[in-house]
Structure formats: structure tokens, C-alpha cells
Symmetry: C2
């Protein structure tokens, strides 16, 4: 059983993932693990190579775990967290911990052996978006969970696996994530003073100045953030205020699919198919109506953060939260605007 442990000083929860554990003597500093592609268990016809599907987009006449699907969700074969069990919160002197209860699912985004989501159609990307929402709505029913983290690691360097088959991951956690809390607190403080959503103000300013605007299509904008941590970091935000991604109307899902595909294609074409990660930032679903949870509906605004991996990140950047970005976000936006896709 994995374990969740809380740092007693800054209150950060960490997963000690014993299921993925190696023995101490299996870690080695040299040489770095090389990338070797494995046979693909995610293509159509290889259904028996994954755990049974949790969700699939397939014609009704095809049985589960058979060919004929467009998109599948399966449990991770090496999950960070386990679905069965009690949270069992406990302390040990100074320290707090609980069992590593949660869900860890893999969204197989296509039945074709396509590596980069940029190469899926906008329609297929919008189906992935609908799948995220469906899975989040389902996971929300489990009272043990507080948050569902949706993210993608594209390619080996960015934490992806040994198979180049486009997929993303969902992790349902029994704790709220540090960064999510920080955003909620920040957005709450801004709202307390201005009585406006900080993200809505930011969108307005970006649309006026256009300095960091990459795309403004349908109901969404894509920008490079003012205080970018990484070169070519991109945020996609809905122009209309909305705190909860799961409330995204059906008609907007194709729009989101379109802008997400376009941005990923611009990164691919302009930057020579870089490794990247994206993370969906949305409101947690279990929230008491107090403190910085008071009115998340008004003050928080969901968005997607995309970070290409183009530079080495020094350890002090993790350790201090102090990032050094070697490119002006305005120059990055201009460059991406001009990449023709």
C-alpha cells in the first residue's frame, strides 16, 4: 500500500509510492536511463495487454475490451495510489500520514499509434476532454477523494513512458494539492479586495495589450503568462468566467479541442516536436463554504497550463520555487503566433 506523508514544516503531501518502488541498490546515478521503445499495448487489437477498461468510447455492439473503440480509459498498471482501502489517517509523533488511497487512470486517446496529441483531430481532442469530464464526475462520487489531477507527460524526457502512444493521466487524491490551494488563496485575496476574478482581469488585460496573446478563438484564449517559469509556457483559459472544468458545455468542448490542438501543433512545428507537460487547473470538488473556499465559484477560474521541456531545470528551482526563464514571454508569444498551422 502506498503512503501519503505530510511535510511537517510546509504542509506538502508527498506520495511514497511503494508499488513503483525499486530497491535502494537499483538506483544509479550513471549512466542516465536511456530511452528504448517497448511494444505498444495501447493500440487497437492489444486490449488484452491492459487491465480491463473503466470507460470507453465504442459502438454499442462491441463488447468491452475488444477492438472497435475510439478512446479507452484503463487503470494504471503501476498506480501511484490504490483504489481499495480506508484512508486511515494517523500520526507518529510530529508526523502525519495516511494510506495511499486514490485512483490512477490512463486515458488512451486514440486507437492509432500516434505519439503526440497535436496529431489527433480537433474532434478527437474534444472527445478526450469529454472523457476527462465524465471520469471526474464519476470519481467525485467517491467521498474519499478531494481532487482529480488531469495531466499529460508527452515523451520520455517529460516523464512519459516507453511507448509513444498519445495518452493522459488522471489521479484522484484524498488531499488537496499545494499549488491548487495557493491559487485558491491568491484568487480569494484578489477577489476580496477587487470583487473581481483575477483571471478575468488578466484575460481582459491580455486581450487589450495583445503582447502575450497567441490565439483568441471561439470562447478561449492562449497566452504566454506574464511571469512565465519556462520558455514557451502557454496557458489556455476560457474567456467566460467558470471555476469548474466539469461544467464545460458540450458546444465549448469542440472549441477547446480546437485551440488545444492548435497550440500543441504550433509547439510541435515551431520547436521541433518538444517534450511537454500539461496540467488542468480546476476547482476541487469537496469544498466547505469557509475561508478561501468561501466563494470559489466567483473567484477561481479553470485553465490549462502547458510547459514544454526545452531547458534543464536546476534543483534550486524546485527547492526554492524561484524560476529563471531565459526567454521573454512576449518574444515567445510572437514566435508562436507566427508559426503557421
Amino acid at each position: 500500500m502506498p503512503e501519503l506523508r505530510k511535510d511537517p514544516i510546509i504542509g506538502r503531501w508527498v506520495i511514497i509510492a511503494t508499488e513503483r518502488a525499486k530497491r535502494p541498490d537499483q538506483f544509479s546515478g550513471q549512466p542516465q536511463e536511456a530511452y528504448v521503445e517497448k511494444p505498444c499495448p495501447f493500440c487497437e487489437g492489444s486490449e488484452s495487454h491492459t487491465p480491463p477498461e473503466i470507460y470507453a468510447l465504442r459502438p454499442t455492439h462491441t463488447p468491452p475490451n475488444s477492438p472497435g473503440w475510439e478512446l479507452r480509459v484503463v487503470p494504471s498498471i503501476s498506480p501511484f495510489l490504490e483504489i481499495e482501502g480506508d484512508l486511515d489517517r494517523r500520526g507518529k509523533g510530529l508526523y502525519d500520514m495516511m494510506s495511499g488511497i486514490g485512483a490512477h487512470e490512463i486515458v488512451i486517446e486514440t486507437n492509432q499509434h500516434i505519439g503526440n496529441m497535436a496529431d489527433l483531430s480537433a474532434e478527437q481532442v474534444s472527445k478526450v476532454i469529454t472523457c476527462y469530464i465524465d471520469r471526474m464526475v464519476d470519481l467525485e462520487k467517491d467521498k474519499r477523494f478531494k481532487y482529480v489531477l488531469v495531466f499529460k507527460n508527452y515523451s520520455w524526457i517529460a516523464g512519459g513512458g516507453r511507448v509513444r502512444h498519445s495518452r493522459s493521466q488522471l489521479i484522484a487524491t484524498p488531499v488537496n494539492l499545494k499549488r491548487v490551494k495557493e491559487e485558491l488563496v491568491g484568487a480569494r485575496q484578489y477577489y476580496d479586495y477587487h470583487e473581481r476574478c483575477v483571471f478575468c482581469d488578466l484575460i481582459k488585460q491580455e486581450l487589450e495589450s495583445k503582447d502575450r496573446l497567441i490565439l483568441d478563438i471561439d470562447g478561449f484564449i492562449a497566452i504566454t503568462p506574464f511571469a512565465s517559469r519556462f520558455p514557451f509556457e502557454v496557458w489556455i483559459l476560457p474567456k467566460k468566467h467558470s471555476s469548474d472544468f466539469i461544467n464545460l458545455e458540450m458546444s465549448m468542448r469542440l472549441d477547446l479541442g480546437r485551440i488545444l490542438k492548435k497550440i500543441l501543433m504550433k509547439l510541435k512545428k515551431g520547436l521541433n516536436d518538444p517534450p511537454y507537460n500539461y496540467i488542468l487547473h480546476t476547482a476541487p470538488f469537496r469544498r466547505p463554504k469557509v475561508g478561501y473556499w468561501k466563494s470559489i465559484e466567483n473567484d477561481y477560474h479553470w485553465h490549462i497550463e502547458i510547459t514544454p521541456r526545452l531547458t534543464r531545470v536546476a534543483g534550486f528551482e524546485w527547492g526554492t520555487g524561484f524560476y529563471i526563464c531565459p526567454l521573454l514571454p512576449e518574444d515567445a508569444a510572437k514566435f508562436l503566433r507566427e508559426v503557421d498551422v
Copy 2:
């Protein structure tokens, strides 16, 4: 002039390092930049290849920037921040920024071409420690600066340069770092309730349980933290309460040199010379006597955090502050205890 920009939501300052900037079309996702060693400008005899020294440990009869030194400090040739100028704090709509004023110095730890600090003598490591303190005391006099970040990137993977010559870096910043503030807030909250330092309690518990204890020598302990983010993460803490690293007595500096060298040697020997980073965590020097700054002397406790780079870190770990560690800290401590150095 580099620029400091503040994220308007979570309040994180970022350096937009235009001095190190590349043009947008110079970034490329494939292939990853390879490591090619350059001729060493840090060895004895190559003094003309670095900017003039700011500090050196050398016999009085040798002139500055000549051979004969044991340790030198020089400004970085590609500084993240610039020493000359005014802070010029300003806003632009929603956004806050200031000029990238600061100091960025390189501590050349030996006149020999030795790559890993583990291979320096304990005496030499203690001289590096004295150098850190001397430079911090000097930088503190500049009223523009709030914090001096002391860190080391060992080897290319960990953000080090193209030369394998043991060195560390100091960055003096006009802002307080996010992680430092979080530690101060956390330590303050614990002190408010318990009227004890959280780090002192932690040291007591670790000395009693011994589960995560690697070394307990002289005035210091080395442990793997309970909520380790990375496999073989190590913290070194002084057993006697002290908030400010710069107050470390001369007699303790050799003790610190000894334990630091020993830990680095255990990592090198046990894990096949891994890339690593370390960061000194100490109290900021300009602190009003209010809020979480109220009594830093009582509630904060300086320490060094060492993080080997043995796993790929996925982008969602940066993006969420939610880390997954594939090794039990107790197993890591046991392994490191048994590495004979």
C-alpha cells in the same frame, strides 16, 4: 537588464533572464543538448579566464587574480541578475515587476580540477562554508537585497555547467523566495501553538527513532526527511537551535565540512556518482518584527537540503507541488548508513 516579474495569482517572483536569453528560434525540442566538456577556466593558472575575483583565500604575498590561491569567488559571466542599478518597482495593469537587480557569484572551491565536492577534504569543505558566510555578511550590507540563496548544481544533468570543476553559486535577491516564506510561515504556526521550534522537535524525534538517521556526528545530524520528495533526499541540520547560518561558530564549521563531505561521499560511492543539488535554507536577513517574521530567531532553524537526481521529474510535480517518491526514506537511510566511507 533582467526583469523580476510576479505571478499575479500565487505571488511567485520569476527572473526573466534576458542576459542569458536565446532567440526564440534557438530553442529546439530535439535532440536534447548533449554534454560536451569545455576547457576549464577555474583551475589554478587560468585566473585570466574568469572575471576579477571578489574574494579569495590566498597567501598575502600573492596578488589578486594570480596563482597560489585555495579558493576564489568571481562574478558569474552570465549572471541571472545584475549588480548595478535601482530596483525600479513598477506595475503594468494587473502585473508587478522590478528590475533584475542582484548579485550572482561563483565559488570556485578548489584550485585543482576536481569535479565533485565529495572529493575535497573536510577542511577544504569547511573553507567553502566560511566563504559562504563571509560573502553573505558582505552582501547583507547592500540594502537592496533580502536573501542570499546558496546552492550547488553538481554535473550537467543537475543544471551544472560544461566544466567539471567543483563550485557553488550565490544569488542575492531583492525579493524573498516563495519556499523560504512557506517554511517561515509553517515554522511560525508550529511555534505559535507548541512554543517550540518544529525543526528541534523533528531532530529529537529522528534521534530517538533512528529510522531515518544516516549520521549523528559532532553537532550535526543527517537524515532522510519523513516526507522525502526524491529518493535519497538528505537534510543536514545543526542539533543546536540556530536560525541564521551566518552565526555558525568557527569550531562548528569543520564539523559541518566533515558531515557534508561524508554524505556526499556516501552518495557518490553508493549511487555511482549521481548528479545532485544542494540548497542552504537559512533565515532572510532583512526582517520586520511582525507577522511570520516576528520571532524567526526562535522558530526557524537553518539546514541544508541535498537532492540527488536519480529519477525523471514529471512536469506535474513542478506544476502542482505534488511529488511522488519511489523509495521509502527509511530504506534510503538504511542504505546510506551502510555505505562505508
